[in-house]
């Protein structure tokens, strides 16, 4: 701030706090709804202060599903495990194949290098939603429906991580390779002992971005999984919401929504520094 005027200072804080309230309010309301009884919700207006049913509702959501009489009883514990496996699978898979191919592109000259580079470049930014029907057929023909492999692999085919690592490897001084070669270091040795360790912060940054990307996948698991044991929490919440005037146990649904939000939010907040770096540099 250039000038120092008191009124402007307080207005700045006020504006930011209003923005934060707008962002927090829907989540707060969801939290409140996950801590009260069904009766408190279906008689509007909804309370804005949490009730005393926190443990009851979350235990229901996690291990038992909605109480008797409110449709299918699906506990979400298994779904959270599935979401975690899918998110970590996508994250690790993407980072590993990208590190390997970026290493090849930057440190080697090989036949069709430019062609390979362009083939990978084309996959940049084209989301799975665009080619959803034929991708589904491929996965169905490979007998990968309702499997973790089928959930994970189609989402690994993207080039953003490869480009990020390539950019980073370009900034590493040539002397590093020269020194390594002089000491008789093999390429893979150089990769494992030098390149991967100095890429630590980039790997952490990508980890945050890709974990969120993986955890929040919606359309792909929705099509892929017909077996309730393979569903992920983000996609399953849609089937819990009533259509029309059906009865729904709102406290359980809202507890499920909270459970679907908490893991990625914890990762963003606890790894904020890496998250900001990853977002600003990889933009996807």
């Amino acid at each position: 701030m250039v000038e120092k005027k008191k009124s402007g200072y307080w207005l700045t804080h006020l504006g930011l706090i209003l923005g934060i309230l707008f962002i927090f309010f829907p989540v707060w309301l969801t939290f409140v709804a996950s801590t009260v009884t069904q009766d408190a919700i279906i008689q509007p207006p909804l309370p804005v202060i949490p009730g005393g049913e926190f443990f009851e509702n979350y235990a229901n959501a996690l291990f038992r599903g909605a109480p008797e009489g409110y449709g299918a009883r699906v506990p979400v514990m298994q779904m959270m495990i599935n979401s975690a496996i899918m998110a970590i699978g996508i994250t690790v898979g993407k980072i590993v194949i990208s590190l390997l191919s970026a290493f090849a592109f930057v440190y080697f000259r090989f036949p069709f290098r430019n062609l390979c580079f362009w083939l990978i470049f084309i996959t940049l930014m084209l989301p799975v939603e665009v080619r959803i029907v034929p991708t589904y057929e491929v996965v169905a023909n490979l007998n990968l429906l309702n499997s973790y492999t089928g959930l994970i692999f189609p989402l690994i085919a993207s080039a953003t991580a490869t480009f990020l690592f390539r950019q980073f490897f370009m900034t590493i001084p040539d002397e590093m390779v020269e020194a390594a070669r002089m000491d008789g270091c093999s390429p893979m040795r150089f990769f494992i002992d030098i390149l991967v360790p100095i890429s630590k912060t980039n790997i952490a940054a990508l980890f945050v971005i890709l974990f969120i990307f993986g955890w929040n996948q919606y359309l792909w698991p929705l099509l892929m999984t017909t077996d309730p044991d393979m569903q992920t929490i983000v996609m399953a919440i849609d089937s819990m919401i009533p259509t029309g005037d059906d009865f729904a146990h709102w406290p359980t649904i809202m507890a499920t929504a909270m459970l679907a939000m908490v893991p990625p939010v914890i990762i963003v907040v606890s790894m904020q520094k890496f998250f900001v770096k990853g977002l600003l540099e990889s933009d996807k």
Binding site: M1, V2, T12, H13, G15, L16, G19, I20, I23, F24, P26, V27, L29, A33, I41, I42, P44, I97, S98, L100, A104, Y107, F110, P111, R113, L119, M125, L126, P127, E129, V130, R131, I132, V133, P134, V138, P154, I156, A157, D174, V177, R181, F190, N216, Y218, L219, L223, V234, M235, I237, D238, I241, M254, M261, Q272, F275, V276, L279, L280, D283
Partner: protein
């Protein structure tokens, strides 16, 4: 940009790029090619045989009032989502940038919604505007305004725009804040000494210096509104009422999986492929420039 020192050999690097290439071929190139191929055929209703129809699927689409309506819906929707979330993001970033202390705390409090899945954001807003129990619809009713987004197309559109923009503010905030913090303070101070007011400085110095990042964000946000908002629309409206919130990617899904109209769905995929291709080229031009600076 190129390295001058390399390792020798060609077998090892080929093996290193192989995993990514193989996955790209199986799950990217083959399905994309398949989409292009299918778009030239018309399967009979029983799926027993397909007939080559050339570009008829495209011709039919471009004269289909539902498809053109979906195009228009997509343009309105993505413009509204991009502009509103960028405006709020810039506003909050400009405020946070004014603070000497505490900007970090505000940053933490503003960026976490990035982690919320669009489908979950949809559920939160659906709950607030639910006709029977929602807090927002309850108070709107008390004010004499009848809210029913399951019947009223404009209200449905408003709700999906609201839910989609809400989750996107943090992304735009973060990029604008980084852009603002990169502007040298000495330029701003020089203008202030010359007597330029805050708004004058904002309009004549800050906005022009932010224009590359604004352009970049516009492209990225349009791509987000085109594809990533699928979850919001599926949870809140399922494209309804009467297709009033059916954006293009939702139509690919509903024609391909719900109505099983594979030829048309494939043709729609191809059109989307072309649109994203154009956006990618535009964005790459931007990245290239940023790298060379």
């Amino acid at each position: 940009m190129e390295k001058r020192v390399f390792f020798k050999g060609w077998l090892l690097p080929v093996m290193l790029v192989a995993p990514q290439l193989i996955i790209s071929f199986i799950f990217f190139f083959y399905p994309s090619g398949q989409a292009i191929w299918n778009s030239l055929f018309l399967p009979d209703p029983f799926g027993l045989k397909t007939e080559f129809v050339g570009l008829d699927n495209f011709r039919f689409l471009l004269s289909d009032p539902y498809y053109l309506a979906s195009f228009k819906t997509t343009i309105i929707f993505s413009t509204a989502v991009s502009v509103s979330s960028m405006a709020i993001g810039l506003y909050l970033a400009a405020l946070a940038d004014r603070l000497i202390k505490g900007a970090g705390v505000y940053q933490t409090l503003l960026i976490w919604p990035y982690a919320i899945a669009p489908a979950i954001a949809g559920v939160l807003w659906l709950f607030m505007f639910n006709g029977n129990i929602g807090l927002a619809s309850y108070y709107l009713k008390a004010l004499g305004y009848e809210w029913n987004h399951t019947l009223n197309g404009d209200q449905a559109m408003f709700l999906v725009i609201l839910a989609s923009s809400w989750g996107r503010i943090s992304y735009n905030f973060l990029f604008f804040l980084a852009g603002l913090q990169a502007i040298p303070k000495s330029i701003i101070e020089a203008a202030a000494i010359d007597g330029a007011s805050f708004w004058k400085r904002f309009g004549t110095i800050v906005i022009p210096l932010l224009s590359p990042i604004t352009f970049f964000l516009l492209v990225v946000n349009i791509v987000y509104a085109f594809f990533d908002t699928f979850g919001v629309i599926h949870t809140i409206t399922s494209g309804g009422p009467e297709q009033s919130t059916t954006i293009l990617v939702y139509k690919v899904f509903s024609d391909g999986f719900v109505s099983q109209d594979l030829g048309s769905s494939a043709a729609q995929s191809v059109i989307l492929l072309v649109l994203v291709g154009i956006l990618t080229v535009i964005q790459f031009k931007y990245i290239e420039r940023k790298v060379h600076y």
